[in-house]
């Protein structure tokens, strides 16, 4: 089984449209599909902007992991396969099989650990592929998937050049190398210099005391610093300046832990300093970005707390994005692109692995 995450860079960047396009193609290709979300998707009207949103249409046979309350408002017929103990504000997550196609509201497990449990269940239920729909610009639970599609668009910023640059940077961060070490990584920060391992008293590098702890132990020589949690870019910048940082490898769980530690600009600027500092940056799990989907739509905010639908030039957006990225780019509103997107995802998830 392969889990595919659809992560948006902002609200209304086309996550649900991308998911809907894939559902259609997966069915055509006779793969058994599992579907869930790390938030709440498939509502008729966007929860925040009040603009209409595509609702997800699911086909017969699809297995869903959704909150109990979603079943009440979905028009698809769903047989409950298993109840789980995963809680959400909309009730506990249940696993169900679609027996008659229809529209669904998908609110799934909204934290990493719960998604992990849900993906295990999907595996046992023999799904070939599980789509994890994103929520807003939330990324953290996506650390659990095997590949990502980044859905971006004018809703992030209607400035095409800026959007292209930001997307390029984002894709780059996910390219941080995967560690070759094959060990059982602990659940705490750890330093190993010249073969001497020290377990540290924190998980995330998010405060000065943790940085001081590293500083106290850091010696000359080769080795690694492992941080399983979040890496604040403020302290990471200071870490790069530490006296004995040279020849060390900083290992983090995945690129998301690094990415969330600050704004994109800080992350990019710090990454530029890594080589100079003599540090090597690695992740335990590389989450490949399989494709980028683009959406020219953006909700323009009006003074009276209302939004209106606007669009940037889709051709210009597409062209510039293709030029800037070395991975496939699709506008999923185009029928041809839908097929292409599926082919790309399928090849990268199943054939290349």
């Amino acid at each position: 089984m392969r889990a595919l995450g659809i992560a948006g860079t902002a609200k209304n960047t086309g996550k649900t449209t991308t998911t809907a396009a894939l559902i259609e193609e997966i069915k055509k290709n006779s793969l058994s599909l599992g579907l869930t979300s790390i938030g709440f998707d498939g509502e008729e009207i966007d929860n925040i902007t009040g603009l209409p949103k595509p609702r997800l249409k699911v086909k017969k046979g699809c297995i869903l992991a959704v909150a109990e309350n979603c079943l009440k408002v979905s028009s698809a017929e769903i047989d409950i396969l298993e109840n789980s103990q995963i809680k959400t504000p909309l009730g506990k997550i249940v696993f169900g099989k679609v027996t008659q196609e229809g529209l669904v509201v998908v609110a799934g497990p909204n934290k990493s650990r719960d998604l992990h449990v849900a993906l295990d269940k999907f595996k046992k239920m023999k799904c070939d592929m599980v789509i994890v729909d994103g929520a807003l610009n939330r990324l953290s639970p996506m650390g659990e998937v095997d590949g990502l599609i980044i859905a971006t668009g004018a809703a992030k910023t209607p400035d095409i050049d800026q959007l292209v640059e930001e997307t390029q940077q984002l894709v780059k961060i996910f390219k941080i190398d995967q560690s070759e070490e094959r060990i059982d990584w602990p659940n705490c920060a750890t330093i190993n210099i010249n073969g001497k391992k020290t377990i540290l008293n924190f998980k995330s590098l998010i405060d000065r005391s943790s940085l001081e702890e590293i500083k106290g132990i850091l010696k000359k020589g080769a080795g690694y610093i492992y941080i399983p949690g979040l890496i604040s870019q403020t302290y990471f910048a200071e870490l790069l300046k530490l006296e004995n940082i040279k020849n060390k490898t900083l290992v983090c769980k995945n690129a998301i832990k690094f990415l969330l530690g600050g704004n994109l600009h800080e992350v990019v600027s710090n990454l530029k300093q890594v080589k100079k500092a003599g540090l090597n940056l690695q992740v335990i799990k590389k989450i490949p970005v399989l494709a980028v989907t683009i959406n020219p739509f953006y909700p323009a905010y009006r003074y009276n707390n209302k939004y209106s639908a606007e669009f940037v030039d889709k051709k210009v957006l597409y062209k510039k994005m293709v030029q800037a990225l070395d991975i496939p780019v699709y506008n999923v509103m185009e029928p041809v692109h839908k097929k292409e997107l599926f082919k790309t995802v399928f090849n990268k998830l199943f054939v290349c692995n």
Binding site: F40, E43, A107, N137, S140, K203, I206, D207, N305
Partner: protein, 608 residues
Amino acid sequence: MKSKKHKVLLAPLDPVHDIGLKMIKRALDEKGHHTILLPPDLPPEEILNKIHENKVDTVLISRTLGYGVAEILGKFIDLIDASGLRDTIKIALGGMAVTPELATELGFDAGFGPGTEVEEAVAFVEGREYKPDIGKFVKNKKDITQRYSYKYTDKEIENLLDKITSQILEWSNNKTSPGVKRAELREEMLKTSNPKELAKLRNEYKELCDDVVKNFYENGKLHSRTRKLTKEELESLENYVAKIKARMKPNGLQHIDKNPLVFIQYGTGCPFMDIAHIKLCEAWGTDGVVHFDPSWGARTEGFFEGYITHEEDGSVITPENLLRIKKSINENVLWQVRAHRGLNTPETVVLAGNSGADLTKINIAYGSLGGGTDPERLTVDAISAIKYAAKYNMPFDVVTNEELSGVPAYKAFSGMLIVSHLALKLGGKPILQPLFCYSPEVMINGNMENNYIDFNAAKIFVLRKIIDAPIWPGAPIGFLTHTEERVQSSITTALHAGLASSLGVDAISIASSDEAFSGGPIAGASRIDTLKATKEVFRFLGNAKITPTKKAEEWAQILQENIKKILTKVAQHGNFVSALYEGLLGSREEGAYPGRAGRNTVTSKHSY
């Protein structure tokens, strides 16, 4: 077992709004939990550090939703998730526009929007399922007559009423009417399950009906403006009620126990629409609902049968319609079926009693002076109706709507007191229903030139000076003070409700904010207007009271003296029915016209 104490971080992500969190903090502190309230507007990274440093197990975030705020909140949850802290803490979001759906989307464990009780947040912290305060939210059906002794303080009035009612009972002895006879037959029809017996009874029944009803029993022909509900409509109605019942969380209107029960009136003509109105009002807190039947129903001898719909001004009373409506009403909501004014008064009480109604409405004086029924006929019928009300244990209000035609309050009250005393003699439980209205009398005499309070208060004061009995001003309160403006109508209804509550009455009937001027069906939103407005006034006043000026006492005094004068005249006259014809309880000059419907239909019991 000692309950676990939690360490809770309360963080207002909002620049200013942290009142909710402060209220929750106080409740948590009182329960011995360790709380840390952060100053407003700290950056998410700093809050993350505080969670980490203080090793809390629960985090409560407050934030009013606005442009771009969802992104900030989503990012915040992402930070917590990525740091690994998400697995060790519970985190909830509260604020304006927050819903469980939004909380799910943003990755929180719970979302608390406007109207959240502090207890709900405390339950979240303690990992308990939130159970709304039972006493506060579950309605209990109240018998508003229960705490009254019906003892007279004014013995002079009691003696007069005794004399008048004895005269009435003596006069009525041996008299009967088609209405009385139909009620007896209906009771037997409801009891029997033998089809032959039923057919025989129905045959007898139809002979006592007007042609239009007789035509129904003989040829199945309905009244011209009605039709039967179809099978599909009935099925759809059943589904609708089941769905609404499953979803509904009944509300309460009262802020303190002393606030009166609130009744609304329905009668769209269509049972389906009536039920929709009932369910809507139940959801917004009504304590009781009053069934209005069409005016032709009151002037026609006999009732139809079946599920009948589409009359214009009230819902047709049939055994089936009443049962269907009863089935749809929340079990804790009171149901009144009016029987007060027409040719079917005793039978209405029989049907109401058999359909499970809690209350009915009977008044001879209004029914015959303002309701169009012959006084003689209605007196005979009302005595029978009162006996049925006593039998089915249904208290009933004695309305004084003749005031709206121009009859002065003291005369209307005299009529009300006579009927109430008659009821007490026959084992009934009457409820006094003075009008809280801007009546022709006060317009002419200027009693409300300065305020709407004093004269209404005087009405309550005088009744209290006379008898210890339940009082239910109506119907609806503020009548004739309403205009076509919804805000004005809601305010005037609510203020009259506040006055009624302040005077310690037991119940009130309220109109919708478009009732007086809708010129057609009432809109659901207008019902909510006055229910909400009434609730707000109850909340506003609490135990505080509206103080009438000294005029109220003066007028109460005058009313009492005038009531005595009228009752003395009626007693001296020696015949209540004749007193009605002659205008002692409201004259033609005042706008009261003895009704003609059912004239000359009273007969000796032996003639049947």
